[in-house]
Symmetry: C2
Subunit: 265 residues, 2 copies
Amino acid sequence: MLIVGELINSTRKSIAAAIEAKDAEAIQKVAKDQEDAGADYIDVNAGTFRDKEPEYMKWLVEKVQEVVQVPCCIDSPDPRVVEAGLSVHKGTAMMNSISLEKERYDSLIPVIAGTDLKIVALCTSDAGMPKTAEDRINVAEELANALVKNNIKLENIYVDPLVQPVATDVNFGREFLTAIEQIMTRFEGIHTICGLSNISFGLPERKFLNRNFVVMAIAKGLDGAIMDPLDRRMMTNIITAETLAGRDNFCMNFLSAYRAENLEM
Amino acid sequence: MLIVGELINSTRKSIAAAIEAKDAEAIQKVAKDQEDAGADYIDVNAGTFRDKEPEYMKWLVEKVQEVVQVPCCIDSPDPRVVEAGLSVHKGTAMMNSISLEKERYDSLIPVIAGTDLKIVALCTSDAGMPKTAEDRINVAEELANALVKNNIKLENIYVDPLVQPVATDVNFGREFLTAIEQIMTRFEGIHTICGLSNISFGLPERKFLNRNFVVMAIAKGLDGAIMDPLDRRMMTNIITAETLAGRDNFCMNFLSAYRAENLEM
């Protein structure tokens, strides 16, 4: 499972304050904590600062990479911001995210075409948010084909079928899960990724719902998540679900986490 | 989700003692507790008492039905025992279980053919325990066809693909889950059911593994479980997974359980 640590995002007040104050230490602590907790990428997002977003993105990437070994996930729909982040990033970054929305797609393709970047590909188009599994699979297919034509390897594509709240429509969870399975089966080598918290919007006990939903998504083939890796119970559910899904030879990860007393149930 | 309460089983010392002592009150408490906790069927098993099994089965069914409204699941591979249980059972029972093993199959068919019993159909044959999803699906198909030919309705068949320990073979969980999905997709109207605890055999934190595995199985379509309904955390995971899987209109079950403070996480 590829874990993208989501905590460095300027929609969070403490992060916005740290960015504005250029408080490198505060940002670096959040980066390091996520790496230590098992993040494979550190997401960096300064999207609330319109004009200064490119400058802040550069600064975030530099400061984060001073203290962690894992690469960054440059999180912006704006090609100038993505370019700014990539211009200082060492190693191979992830880019979060492209979609089939024409303006976003056309402006990002020149930045990412032919690169080895990992690309988060959202299942949205100008027709709006997907509702059914079929909507998602259709957008995923068109977007993946377009990316491959632009010399992005299929195995570098992380399709995000977009989780929507089950409290809004009883079918939303199932349609998402079906999409995960179909995308992973039909496009061999591709990956899937998602944020989880939307599933529980409007319901009580959201964290419990989210961490059960990730277990279900792993049963269907999900192999990436954009999440808070400091959430020990969520991480425990992921380790456990991967073991049960046959992704953990000799149950070594599960047993190691158990012995290290890292499982929190 | 159809819940079969598994606690009245003579392999449990307290139950064996209660049966031998004809302690109806002890048996009835276990039956009632399971019904109150949400069991749809009360499994009754006196399998450790060879010669007396038919007599004890009769007694168990009678005593259980004095105190609960839900039917029994007559649990024996022996046609004499099944007949004994059915002879006193009021309403429509479940029978646990038939398989493709020739001796078991041939002896049970005359007892169940043409009835409205719910039938647990194990995915085993004289070739032994299944290993792959394909093994399971092949046995399921042959067994379901044979049962339907004997005038058992497809919707009364509960296929048990048989959970095997992931610590024995890393693929065992995944093969089981694939079998659930394929059986539920290919034979429309059929049901699936299983015991869960084998999945975690040989590993620590077994209850945690079991209750995550049921969440994964529900994502794949499982709609029955033979389990301890007094396990509140397992029941909470089932309610939650069903909500996330689109089986809970307006999230009413989840919200009711939440409001009644019945969720245990």
